[in-house]
């Protein structure tokens, strides 16, 4: 479904990604792991048309999207929930959700609103409240709900558990599992290695601009090199 080949990207002279190949198949959860500052968000933004890659190719659902605009990419159903949520702070929860269907799914806005509220009943209680007044966990729900309003075919989640309490982290991973069981493909970017490998089918580990490890999530979880580097074991 998503196919990244030989991708290079960076900021000016600073090259962050030095040739990465990544695939996400229909209905898969794929984890993208790596330490802080290694370039996971950079990869997301290159995929989503926010950052222009310097070399390589990205295809989504059979279409080349390497040079496509962020708008066109959203319209094709590749939707990102960004790191730090990026909800619209001075707009109500409802307006935030409505804007999720700005580019895609506008015709089914009210039906999708009901669907999202069924997933996140807590958002319904806060419909008229400004997004800035929500707790961190609620803002994360809102960011995911906003993305779901656009009827994603592939959802990219950039560190959804960041800043959440351990209980909410559990809930977040359970939710990702539920969304995936309904057929949604997910690219899950995380530093939370154990939980991510537990729900993902496959995983990639980014180090120094390339994937140092990749493969089946169960096998990776047992890999001594990974356990040493990321779990301190």
């Amino acid at each position: 479904m998503l196919e990244v080949r030989g991708l290079h990207a960076g900021y000016g002279a600073l090259e962050i990604l030095r040739g990465v190949d990544l695939d996400v198949g229909a209905g898969e959860i794929v984890a993208l792991l790596g330490s802080n500052g290694v370039g996971k968000t950079t990869l997301n933004n290159a995929i989503c048309g926010i950052l222009r890659p310097t070399a390589g190719r990205i295809a989504f659902a059979g279409e080349d999207i390497t040079r496509a605009s962020a708008m066109a990419i959203v319209a094709s159903g590749l939707i990102q929930v960004p790191e730090g949520r990026r909800v619209f702070p001075d707009m109500s929860v409802r307006e935030n959700l409505e804007l999720g269907s700005y580019r895609r799914g506008r015709g089914r806005r009210s039906a999708n609103l009901e669907r999202v509220v069924a997933v996140f009943p807590r958002l319904a209680e806060r419909f008229a409240q400004k997004a800035a007044t929500l707790s961190g966990g609620e803002q994360q729900m809102l960011a995911i709900g906003r993305a779901l309003m656009g009827e994603p075919r592939l959802l990219i989640l950039d560190e959804p558990s960041l800043g959440l309490s351990p209980r909410l982290v559990e809930e977040m991973f359970a939710l990702i599992g539920r969304l995936n069981r309904d057929g949604l493909a997910v690219l899950l970017v995380e530093q939370n290695v154990v939980e991510s490998l537990a729900i993902a089918r496959r995983a990639y580990v980014l180090e120094n601009g390339v994937f140092a490890m990749q493969g089946d999530a169960v096998a990776l979880a047992a890999d001594p090199a990974l356990r040493r580097a990321y779990l301190g074991m």
Partner: protein, 290 residues
């Protein structure tokens, strides 16, 4: 000492003028809120719109109040194109560059106006502009009453549009969270251009409301840009409500200042407000950010 009646009349007069200031300031605050820059070309574009209303009147005899939709639409188109072809292109997405580009535009527009239109002041004579209406103790020019109502109606319509329409929501989204806006598929560059266009459309409307009771010359924008900037700082940069309240406060201050201190010394009120607000409440009355 001045009688209460004169003070009341002065206050009403200030409110009437204030409504047009609100319109000018709403344009400035909208552009600030979305683009995060002071539009230094605001005054010269207002002047240009006043010339447009003047020349329309002189060539076709059309009443500036009736020409308002046309001049406002022209303002929108000009603003949109200016952003797309000049401001957005030259600034390459850097806010501080936009500032310089609008400053450059102001200089170019003013000198072009001087070159093409000459330095004379021009006035529009509409037969009914001199008529007055008695409101309480005051005899108010009909033109000012109409412009007051029209300015407020336009602000209300714009407020509703920004609050309710999808484009309005996109404008608010881009104003506070550009990255988030990109990720829901909003065309951020187009939204910048639309916001700039709406800001200039407000000037087009204000110009038509101003010209029957004012005059236009190539330097006409200066006075208004200072007033509008004071209003926006007073109300809070980027705040719609702030522009509304600020516009009336500045209008009344100016009018009462003129009554109490005389025409020229009365002008001190506006810089005084400016300095006081910077000292006491730099974020402005309704500003969320300093």
């Amino acid at each position: 000492m001045l009688s209460p009646d004169i003070l009341l009349a002065g206050t009403i007069n200030g409110l009437l003028t204030g409504a047009i200031y609100v319109l000018v300031a709403v344009g400035l605050t909208l552009i600030y809120g979305v683009l995060h820059i002071i539009n230094f070309a605001h005054g010269s574009l207002l002047m240009l719109a006043m010339y447009a209303a003047f020349f329309l009147w002189r060539s076709t005899g059309i009443d500036p109040y009736l020409a308002l939709p046309l001049v406002a639409a022209g303002g929108f188109a000009l603003g949109y194109v200016l952003y797309r072809c000049v401001i957005g292109r030259l600034s390459r997405g850097k806010d501080e560059n936009i500032l310089l580009v609008t400053l450059g535009l102001a200089i170019v527009i003013e000198n072009a106006a001087l070159f093409f239109f000459g330095g004379d002041t021009r006035t529009v004579e509409v037969s009914w502009a001199a008529e007055t209406v008695e409101v309480g103790p005051a005899f108010l020019p009909l033109a000012k009453l109409v412009s007051f109502a029209a300015a407020l109606a336009l602000c209300a319509a714009l407020g509703l549009y920004i609050a309710r329409s999808d484009t309005g929501k996109a404008i608010r989204a881009v104003a506070r969270e550009r990255q988030g806006a990109r990720l829901v598929g909003i065309d951020v560059e187009a939204t910048f251009a639309i916001s700039y266009g709406i800001g200039i459309a407000c000037l087009g409307a204000a110009a038509c409301l101003l010209i029957p009771s004012f005059y236009v010359a190539p330097t006409s924008g200066h006075a208004f840009v200072l007033v509008a900037f004071t209003i926006v700082v007073l109300g809070g940069m980027g705040s719609f409500l702030g522009a509304l309240v600020g516009g009336f406060v500045v209008g009344v201050t100016e009018s009462l200042g003129g009554l109490l201190l005389g025409e020229s010394l009365g002008q001190i009120g506006i810089p005084l407000i400016f300095i006081l607000i910077l000292l006491l409440r730099p974020a402005g009355l309704f500003g969320s950010r300093a």
